[in-house]
Amino acid sequence: MHNRASLILSSAVALFAAWGLVSAMSWPLKAKLFPLVVGIPLLCLAIAEIIYSLRDKSTEPPRDIPADVERHRSLVAAGWILAFFAAIVLLGFDIAVAVFVFLYLVIQGKERWIFSAIFAAATWALFYGLFDRLLHLPFPAGWLLELLGFG
């Protein structure tokens, strides 16, 4: 994974640098000076790292957690993060915070319902009291609520 991650990253950086250089060609000198100064060495370094990664046969030192368990848990964590983002966009921060915390505690944390409800309510109260009431930060209603006319 060590080398694969490095290969993915360096390939992405190489593509980004190449795209950056090609895009910069059509700009006036003032705008393209710095992209060229940075982009050319960046592309060279990225290619060097790709070659290093492809030639490197060393393996990652063993970790405490088996690789398949680690992969599964990483995907679960990523899933929760994306689900929270989707909830924020669809329901808005006000509702998403309470719903997410409650569901995470019950499903992922295997906590009791009552405890989860109290903890979610406390987190929501902290969020609402601090960011909404005290600091007056603008949190829009979610798209779904706006669509239903509650926004």
Partner: protein, 501 residues
Amino acid sequence: MLDAFLQGLLLVLQWKALAFMLFGVALGFWVGLLPGLGGATTLALMLPFVYTMQPAEAFAFLLGMHSVVTTTGDITSILFGVPGEATTAAIILDGHAMAKKGQAGRALGAALTASLIGALIGAAALALAIPVVRPLVLTFGSPELFMLAIVGLAFIASLSAQGARGMVRGFLAGGLGLMLAMIGQDPQAGVARYTGDSLYLSQGLDLVPVLVGLFAIPEIIELVVRGTSIAGGLPSQRVSSGALEGVKDAFRHIGLTLRCSLIGTFIGIMPGLGGSVAQWLAYGHASQSAKTPAEREGFGKGDVRGVLGPGAACNSKEGGALIPTIAFGVPGSTAMAILLGAFFLLGLVPGPDMLSQHLALTFSMVWTIVIANVVTVAVCFLLLNRLAALTTVRVSLLVPVVLVLVFVGSYTANSQYADIVVTLVFGVVGWLMVRAGWARAPLVLGLVLGKIAENYLYISVDRYAAAWLGRPVVVVLLVCAVAVIAYPAIQGWRAKRAARA
């Protein structure tokens, strides 16, 4: 001079000014703890309230608030791996690594002590440097400031990992940061660069969502994967003990703490470089202080020197940044630009008047920085055990709360969903970087320095053509950059030779 110095203290100790300062400190304390909500934003929010205040009260309030934000920002960074402030990201590398090893108390003790020392050095610099700093600032033109940015980048990139490949990765990350800094409208020709016709990207990438994604998302995934508390299931008394050890660490490495304080002050004085640069330069210097390559490998894995350096620099830069603001009306950072607004709101003009007619008021600012930091550090030490015990909270409770803070903190940068998308994208980048063994520090420094460096490079080329490369300070800084890159290689070669012998 001494009279004005004491008068400044009396101004701050007047009950109204003191009360405003303590209120500001309390506000700054919480702002620092909350990720995303920056000290500069809060300063801007509080600016309208100073209209009715006397100048000494207004500066006690604003400076009291601003000067403690980074101190408490360090706490969030160390305990949760989420940058409490954009200026407290560097301390995560070793501070959070220490928290994960059950040394949260020691890391906090070290960070708070270094912060206090840094703040005192910054305040002393402000008090001493005002009459003599003018020639220094005037020596540094655009070419020198550009080279300073390059030295900073060389510093951090060369120290990120061992060997030739580590160096390649360090510069790769730094270069990526520089490229990312170019996203947005170019300041010289007005061309929209790498925006993909997105209105959000035309303003460039905001630092807060990038930092939160880069550091916090991989940390949350790691927490879920490990399935244990931050301190890895260590008993709470072990976590919170060691604060005194952290205090001792600051004095054990007092040379480093003082040097990093001076770095912070110096960067603070230089207009346009900003606080985010100071912490990374100090971190780079701290890792440079490692005597052997093996010792250097410990950086990023919980070396207390990686906490002391950024901790000291972050707070000392405030005193430094006030110097050009007060003396020349040239703000050293965004926060100082907002503070400059307060000067005009109160009918004061920065410049020679502040060093003669209003000298007592100027010294009252020095005293505010000192008193506010002493109060904050004392309160933090009182709460230290409770704060450190947070690292033993079980993961199922911690993850949802930290995620709420991450998303809210990221969203408040520009109040757009795109901020969260940026956080998620950089979360993936950060996770891949951790897995690939790439250092994240150079990327952040590249992003911070990119716009500044481009601006200074353009002015240098436009104003001096190639002649800027021959300016004495530029040459000295260029030699420094080369030495910084060559030093790890020489160190490695020496170690090999010693091993062979």
